[in-house]
Symmetry: C2
């Protein structure tokens, strides 16, 4: 299996200052795998849902090459549910409710095909579960991990054990500050890379994303959008585009990671245009190409250095 | 005169979570003109100071080609004074005290040389004073205006009258939202350009800057810095680099404005490295070239569009 993603497959209630959507399909693994499906013919997900999860959505995902041997469906139980409300800036949000439901039973057992995964995406989840997946994958070429402040508040030591084992960590700017104890993102990045990952991606939502390695830094803008309908899943979509592009190309150079960050940012910009995963189900290749070209144009300039 | 700048020449008290500086030289016209001096041999400022303003600083500015025929020194009076405290994010701040002092007496009278200015920079100031300068300049090639939420709160109608008359407006993202009543920066930009300016620059501090015209958008990143000592004057420094570069080149195309935005961003990154104007007094051409190259590298990527 080229790519295996562990993460939630779930329902979300989303409120924004401009609209709301109730019980739409969401979850990190859903967003990641749907997005990666634009780059990979076949991939697997590791997750758990309840009997309430729509089989039509599972069928849609299957048709997009998302294998579900790693997805448990628990009879008589309910899927993970998250409810949140966005602030007026659409960049910050409050969690209104979290019902773990089936997530309490998630104890991943990977089959042989999954164990041989070349690329592993650890979606935001209990680091103990992320570690269990890592334990079972035999010799991945690249492991990318996403996490959130929730785990820094509640399980920092477990979290750091997993961080130590991954190649690339993706977190947002306030999380980078929290994890490192440094205010400057440059200093924060270097503290975090000392913890294990050779690369760090700092996601800044509508303000773009930074990619660090020990010696270099790259900045990818976010596309200024006419309208942001729902940013839920944008970070997961970014991760799906990022690892999907890397997995397809097989090139882990810094220069190719820069491309992967642009691709991830382009995919995330689509995600924000509609509620839930809707936009990620219907993209055409021409739309993706056009969007990537918009990113090229957005930051394109030529300058001759000022003469002395 | 190539460039005439109106704005404050003043003292600041600055507190950050990491340090403080008392009664350092500041003011919009000071930052703007010092920065523009790296691009122009001669320029003029229109402002007013009290007897307390250090003559050594005025002499330093004069040596950098900053003509002071438009700068009144009022005997027995005190210079404009601002005191502020930055939040932990170093991107937002509270004003602790403002003493207008001599600013109450600022009633600009431009001499013949100033009236023939090709480039006019209206630094953040009472829009009534900005208008008085515009009234006296005969046929400027380009007028750039900076302003702040303070004038939107207290003098919106006067402000809009000036905005109507300028070529380029520079404001920050929350001010763009306030001025337009639109949350999306893309929509906000178009509403504001309907008010008069053909171009809008949206400054986002540590998150970079956007340049809009009717049909195009360009994004310039901010350089991730190891340490931000004091962001005071960064917006003015940006404006000084922007208009200084445009004035020297005489090219007002969108492509050249993109370069000017990068130059402004590079100059602003220096400004944050020390308290007050200190860093803007000592820059070497090689440092500026190197910094601009860092901006080139920061956003440089090549991507082949995904094959269908």
């Amino acid at each position: 299996m080229k790519l295996v993603t562990v993460g939630t497959v779930a329902f979300d209630n989303i409120e924004t200052p401009f609209g709301r959507a109730d019980k739409v399909v969401g979850g990190a693994a859903t967003y990641i795998s749907l997005t990666a499906s634009y780059f990979l013919e076949k991939q697997g997900i590791v997750s758990v849902v309840g009997e309430d999860f729509p089989t039509t959505m599972l069928e849609t995902m299957r048709k997009k090459g998302i294998d579900q041997a790693g997805l448990e469906v628990l009879k008589g139980k309910e899927s993970f549910f998250w409810s949140g409300r966005y602030h007026y800036d659409m960049n910050t949000r409050d969690t209104l409710e979290t019902r773990l439901n089936v997530l309490l039973d998630l104890d991943p057992k990977l089959n042989e095909e999954y164990r041989s995964a070349e690329y592993v995406m650890l979606g935001n989840l209990d680091p103990v579960v992320q570690a269990k997946v890592l334990d079972q994958v035999e010799s991945p070429a690249l492991v990318v991990m996403d996490t959130m402040n929730f785990w820094m508040d509640s399980a920092m030591e477990k979290l750091k054990e997993v961080i130590k084992r991954v190649d690339i960590l993706t977190i947002n700017d306030s999380e980078a500050r929290q994890l490192s104890g440094e205010h400057s993102l440059v200093k924060a990045a270097h503290v975090i890379m000392e913890m294990g990952p050779k690369h760090l991606v700092v996601k800044k939502g509508e303000h773009g994303a930074l990619l660090f390695n020990k010696n270099r830094v790259f900045f990818a803008p976010a596309l200024p959008l006419d309208e942001v309908v729902d940013p839920t899943g944008a970070g997961d979509t970014f991760a799906g585009g990022f690892i999907g592009y890397l997995a397809r190309s097989g090139d882990h150079s810094f220069n190719n990671m820069k491309r992967a960050i642009i691709v991830g940012s382009a995919m995330a910009s689509f995600c924000c245009e509609k509620f839930g995963v809707e936009r990620m189900l219907e993209l055409k290749q021409e739309e993706i190409d056009l969007r990537i070209q918009q990113f090229v144009d957005l930051v394109d300039f030529d300058i001759k250095l000022v003469e002395g």
